[in-house]
Symmetry: C2
Subunit: 213 residues, 2 copies
């Protein structure tokens, strides 16, 4: 495509430079979601992404250092959106709302993200791709911190609490992947109920921890 020179801040086509950058970024991550859904991550290429997104390679490399970086950011954007929605939902709950409601809400937010089949596919491709693994690992670490901050009270810094939260969140990512692949034949409501019950068990376990000796 035609390259245009764009001094920072110069309006062009009615959009500021920042708006155009955000629009390009959005088109690039949408193109990654589309192409991985259509053909899998193995056949993903910078050329195909740029063509689908109508973005030049030069602009892609202005925002992302390489293909792994772009795929990582694509999954990170999706998972950060989930984390934001969990935070917003928990802020709306009374401080004395049952823990189960908060955990159930978090599980629902995660599953809602996967209602977009492109997101589900990208997530299932994560184990085999360096960038996607990094995004998934960062999200797990973030969800662990979020869970402990919201629910673990003064136990949040106990390494045993961190281990328990990590086992729960890490294991849940595997359980959800299994379910998305159809390897666990549960109705969605049963999936939510089972994962919520496990989360409540884990949080109760953390809250019962005696201070370290």
């Amino acid at each position: 495509m035609t390259q245009t020179t764009e001094p920072a801040g110069r309006p062009y086509g009615g959009q500021s430079a920042t708006e155009r950058r955000l629009s390009r970024r959005n088109r690039l991550t949408e193109a990654v979601l589309d192409l991985v859904y259509e053909s899998g991550i193995e056949s993903l290429s910078v050329g195909a992404i740029c063509e689908r997104a109508s973005v030049s390679k030069r602009h892609l490399y202005l925002s992302f250092s390489n293909l792994d970086d772009l795929t990582e950011e694509t999954l990170t954007d999706v998972l950060a959106h989930v984390a934001d929605r969990i935070a917003a939902a928990s802020a709306e709950l009374d401080s004395d709302a049952p823990r189960a409601r908060l955990i159930e809400g978090a599980v629902e937010e995660i599953l809602t993200a996967f209602d977009d089949p492109r997101v589900a596919r990208l997530y299932l491709e994560a184990p085999g791709n360096r960038g996607l693994r990094a995004a998934r690992d960062h999200a797990v670490a973030h969800f662990v911190t979020q869970l402990l901050t919201l629910l673990a009270g003064d136990r949040a810094d106990d390494p045993r609490a961190q281990l328990i939260a990590r086992v729960l969140v890490g294991g849940t990512t595997e359980g959800v992947a299994l379910w998305l692949r159809g390897d666990v034949t549960l109705e969605r409501t049963e999936l939510v109920a089972t994962l919520t019950a496990l989360g409540v068990d884990a949080v109760n376990h953390i809250l019962r921890l005696k201070p370290p000796h």
Copy 2:
């Protein structure tokens, strides 16, 4: 190295063909453990493995279809040994032994395997390697079946029980990796106690499941 012609079953150097094959296989997997420990999986090559193991490439390719297959079998051998030891230990326990003892024994067997720092390193390399991921995924599925068979009674076939066991076992593999990397600062006894308690919680949860409607 010098190639020798070996008709099946012909004794050579005091060993049968089967003994020589097993010895070569053992030298090859030991070489993988040594080399990954020394230099990481990225720099692993068939040439380096054959040199370290004193095994010809021809013999390597008689037993393994490629490098991924060999690294997968190396980790599979280690994890199958752990599963065998868990099975043997559980067979020795009275049928009315506390569940916690069986689960604690299983956790100890897993950690004992990682006392070999080469095994710990290979395990930590698993996410980034196709063969190692396959070995790890098969082992998780096997441990899930083992856990449900030993402890879940008539709930073993309930998909909710399978989900719970998968969350627990999958999450535990992450927790152990975190601990091996030093990212969770727990004494080994605390690690075992925490993982055992989580396992007991999960099994109790499974045993309380009401039959599906």
